[in-house]
Symmetry: D2
Subunit: 406 residues, 4 copies
């Protein structure tokens, strides 16, 4: 594997997913855990950086140190927590960009005070430079793991071209969300950027064009972890057997901060949006009764539970039912994807690939495509494409992100 | 599609699967049902014969006409049954070869009286010739849908070469099961043969070699319908996400004649055998606690229910659980596979392909391979191979099975 | 059993529940079905009228004859439907009282045209008298099985006393719902009245007082059929074993007209209200996370499915989970309760009991109590009380409802 | 509550259930846990001894101290274990009576060496006397929590009368199992004895007669914890609603030492026996298809999972299904029952009640009755009887077990 040090700047660093990823990489270095759950652990020779080469930093509205944050989230076992507490307790997120208009239910106090968007972007850049300098990392990637924001109208003119977007930033346009601002901050410096949330971030024409111009690999959106993963695994099989899906009822219960954010109907709308499209796209017809429920349910904590009822018609039009109950742990499923996204985006950067990296679609509920085409949603086909992409190119032995260095 | 008439000779013609397939093709011709559930209905240009070109005949130990049999099985709805009753009531299975040593719990009275194996083979050939002549079909395939027989030791010397097998038939060897005899009858005439059951049929070296020599396409064994289908759909996804399967508990309840046959521990052994291997092969490691239960449970009738509990370890070694409850209908899932097997084997024959047709693996719990290699079990990869095979070759415009004609 | 003829006047006679009850009693008379599912079929000597003595009539906004209605609902099997079609096709509901302000999503055209409430009440009385005369029934009961109405503020002054209510009727008060009007029509004539729906009907002080004065037995509300039945069966056991319920997540999917009505948030509010209270009352503490979802899901048709996840803490505070999946048929569970309610209310009337008959609580999600006390919700205790009540009193051999006769 | 000190002598003291009970009482004394899960914690004024008055001792074939045993079983959380480790590490089971003929799969080395049964009984008595003396407890009860033994033919003549039994002991009769020997040891001294396992213990005429003569309260057998508890909760409700149970399929997976013991078909037979009878007894008819599967499945550890499918016929003979998935913890459910059994048996003794205490039936899968009558299995009715029994009598202020003292 490629040995240089890679810095991962995480938006929402104190959240359950990011703290689990960070703690997990520490536990892996110490040999406390193995690579179970890391999808690309078995990939050799593709030029991915070692897990040991990863260093984390990032922003959060809550300024708790990561040991405290991890204890709150309750994802790590007691003994895992104790093993990494000394390291995590020294890590503290940087103040974050926030905007109550986009995410109502998450209110932290550690936010950047400057009022102009341009000043916020500059502050993000300073954070990145300081991170790179202090941690002596060779290259950077940015991953958005923050709470879900309300939907954004991506068709607005200010999101149409890089120039319009720049002007909108200078005009403090209220339609620019924090997630978009972070995406802009990364892409404008040519840094790889992945959006692990359902929020709109880099997925507007302005930022995609900028990513192409600057050679910034981007990918997103909304990590494909539990229920949607299963949906994109089962639906292709139903299609292949010509079983007609007459209805699919999905219910989710989850009790972490993410779930609390989703109690805001506006944020929930973003989530349901990324969850909804996958079925029709895989099956090739519109499922008339596809219903997705998400419910904040405190007893689950960071655990997550999905119950799916799938109604199918088989031969002779006869009905059958498939019910799937997934008792999973959101952060345990999500954290390794964040890690692999960082490693693959870094690989893309070193290979000289910019703009949307479509081959990373398997990591997302709503994968991005370079040209707005409907993405491939079927998990087996996505996986095949990822493996092909990994085995295809050869990475440049670049040593750093010139733009940041310069 | 290829328009010539294809005769399908079914071993176990009065069983739930075969009667459903036969009734289904009639209902399709009449426009009562559409092609839902027929996996290859959407395939164009590959040279498969039309569904309308299929004609059925076959053997059974119960000589009920198919209308009566269908009513007993209770798979068709009342109105479906009424629509095809006039046709089905005129179809009656031919007396079958039986052997109490291989299948204890299914006892019918309509069996071939001749005591020598050679005479039984000749009687099968006469049945086929009469079927072809009376129904004016151009070509034939044979599919075994009979009840599960007890395991056979495939390493016995009499199963090693065609010559040894011929000698064993002449010697009335008690180790030759009915399923093997039917397979031999088909293959010795160069006819395509598929084994839809867990019984040993063509899968001994002697018969495979004979199939190659005679250009007889063969495929099997044990139709992949419910629980195992899902297993081979889910396991690849768990592997791709590096989730470690620490245990998989599968329980099945079913109440039809098939289930009754499985109440005989010897028959059940065959079934469990074909169900067991798929997981380890897909995952690449031995699942320590993979348990499969099959239970005859009368209230299910021809419906079948599977409950699977899957224990996985994710990132940081943390446990999660996936539970799948499949309320399905055995014959509704199986019958279309029987139809598609007939169509694809016929295509293989016309293409000049003989021996094991590995690309048909997606239809089976325990696919056969030409050289005894471990077969591919992952459903998505099997499907990809089938699609590739269908789009690959071009079929000869042969008009019939010369051997039978001659 | 008591042999006189009892007329059951059903509000919502063309709905799935009522048509199933009516068809079921016909099928029972003909010996096509047995008494399975009828809770009091085994009760002897309590003075209940025979099932054979029941005659049905009623109102509906849809004027389809009951054969057509039954076919639409799809509850009866084809052969059951055929057996009773001749009888059902001659039964047609009377025009109903409707009010779009109380139930938005159910729009039928067969409604009473008179605009004053008083005239509507009189029309109801004429319907009842005609019913009694034409069908030659000795006594009457009225059961409300109509679609759910939006909540009503029961604390309004016009609902406080019989006198205020009478005045409100004369003033065409817009707060008087159809369900209340039907209840008033029954009670004002001393007829037994049961409210099988979540709507407010007799459960206001004015009507309860009137029921006492007039000796009209009343009971309600909202039939306890599927999920709530199970809840009131399981919760007492959890309490008895001192298992602490830390959360209970209930989701329901249903696809019939009832479900469609619940797509109106106002109607749904009434439903969730009757479902919510049972747990805390049985357990003796407030379940912090008790969530009930009801979702209209077309593929279910009249079938109904409930999935409950129950989180409990056991000894040492350790968490356990119980998951219950009930695949049931709404009308199949509800119809026999309607029948038994009619029989028991008639018994109460003959025994001279008026006002709220608390002992019938086992039939309802939200049982009524005479004095507004919290009702008993635990199913086993309710059942015990019903059995005790049945074995207690002796019915007067009254021959009819004097008020209607007079 | 009654304040004297009660000694509980547990057969199988090092098992998961007993160690959990012992640790739990310690944690309760220290205020680390509350009384959640202890069914009788809320009962006041009945004369039960305080939880704080309980002291434990007992036998086991494994001589690990209880801290080590508890760590092996993995029932306590890490912090619970740490809180009681100092106390548990000082507790070590006494050598046990064992017999490979009755329980094959559990092999420990700490067994009593004396070969005659009489000598073993005397050794048990000495253990009890030493326990009472050293722990300064006022009274004793004995509870059998050992692994399940194979079935015993209770109709043998040596089990018919106390005299025959005494003679059989003196003759070292090979049909006398360890569980019977412990029961005899307790009962012959007038001590209360409960059998929490499916083994035959006090339930032979000889020992029941002896219990009556000696005033020894006895109860059993097989603690009603998970699946059977639910069965006896649900079945009465199905009966009350006249839903006909056409089939009940129960599957259990469990991974602790108890499960391992059940891998021995002989032990499993005992278990299935106690599980089987409850349904028919409650429902009043024979459920034709009642199937109970128990499967040792290592990934569960001490957790236990039950999946039940219940097929019912409702009104009009229409089928419905209920599926229950219970993810529970065997010892967490069982341990508090052991504690409550000890407290209630002690109360019975002080009240002067001897022989079978039928009112304790709610604690058992197969409750004992004094005269061999079919026991009440319905949980709600059992609970009502227990509550009535508790509120009925008044306990003698006896200070100790005179027989042992004397």
């Amino acid at each position: 594997m490629y040995g240089d040090r890679l810095g991962i700047a995480v938006v929402g660093m104190g959240g359950a997913v990011a703290t689990t990823a960070i703690a997990g990489m520490e536990l892996l270095k110490r040999g406390v855990v193995d690579t179970t759950g890391l999808p690309l652990a078995g990939v050799k020779g593709a030029g991915l950086v070692d897990y040991g080469a990863l260093t984390f930093g990032g922003w959060d509205l809550y300024d708790d140190d990561l040991a405290k944050a991890a204890r709150t989230h309750g994802v790590l076992t007691e003994s895992q927590l104790q093993a990494v507490e000394p390291v995590l307790s020294k890590m503290r997120p940087w103040p974050a960009v926030s905007n109550r208009n986009f995410c109502r239910n998450v209110v932290g106090s550690s936010n950047k005070k400057m009022s102009s968007l341009r000043a916020q972007v500059e502050a993000i850049h300073q954070d990145l430079e300081r991170f790179q300098r202090e941690q002596q990392v060779d290259r950077l990637v940015m991953i958005n793991c923050a709470s879900t924001e309300r939907p954004v109208n991506t068709a607005l003119p200010q999101f149409a071209t890089p120039e319009a977007f720049e002007a909108a930033i200078d005009a403090n346009d209220p339609e620019i969300s924090p997630a978009m601002l972070y995406a802009y901050a990364a892409i404008s410096r040519g840094l790889p950027f992945a959006n692990f949330t359902p929020s709109v971030a880099a997925d507007v024409p302005a930022l995609l064009e900028l990513a192409r111009r600057n050679g910034a690999p981007v990918a997103g959106k909304d990590g494909k972890t539990g229920q949607t993963l299963l949906k994109t695994v089962l639906a292709p099989a139903l299609r292949d057997r010509a079983l007609y899906v007459s209805g699919w009822y999905s219910t989710n219960i989850l009790g972490n901060r993410d779930g609390e954010a989703l109690n805001d109907p506006a944020s929930k709308a973003s989530k349901l949006d990324t969850k909804g499209a996958v079925l029709d796209s895989i099956l090739g017809y519109k499922v008339q009764d596809h219903i997705v429920q998400i419910q904040y349910y405190r007893p689950r904590g960071d655990n997550k539970e999905a119950w799916d009822n799938i109604d199918v018609l088989g031969f002779l039009g006869q009905p059958m039912q498939l019910k799937v109950n997934f008792l999973c742990k959101d952060s345990i499923l999500a954290a390794p994807l964040v890690v692999e996204l960082a490693r693959t985006l870094d690989l893309a950067k070193r290979r000289g690939e910019g703009g949307v990296i479509e081959s990373l679609g398997c990591f997302f509920k709503a994968p991005m495509t370079p040209d707005g085409r409907t993405p491939e949603h079927a998990m087996p086909e996505q996986q095949r494409r990822l493996m092909k992409w990994l085995s295809a190119g050869s990475a440049r032995p670049t040593v750093g992100n010139e733009l940041l260095r310069g």
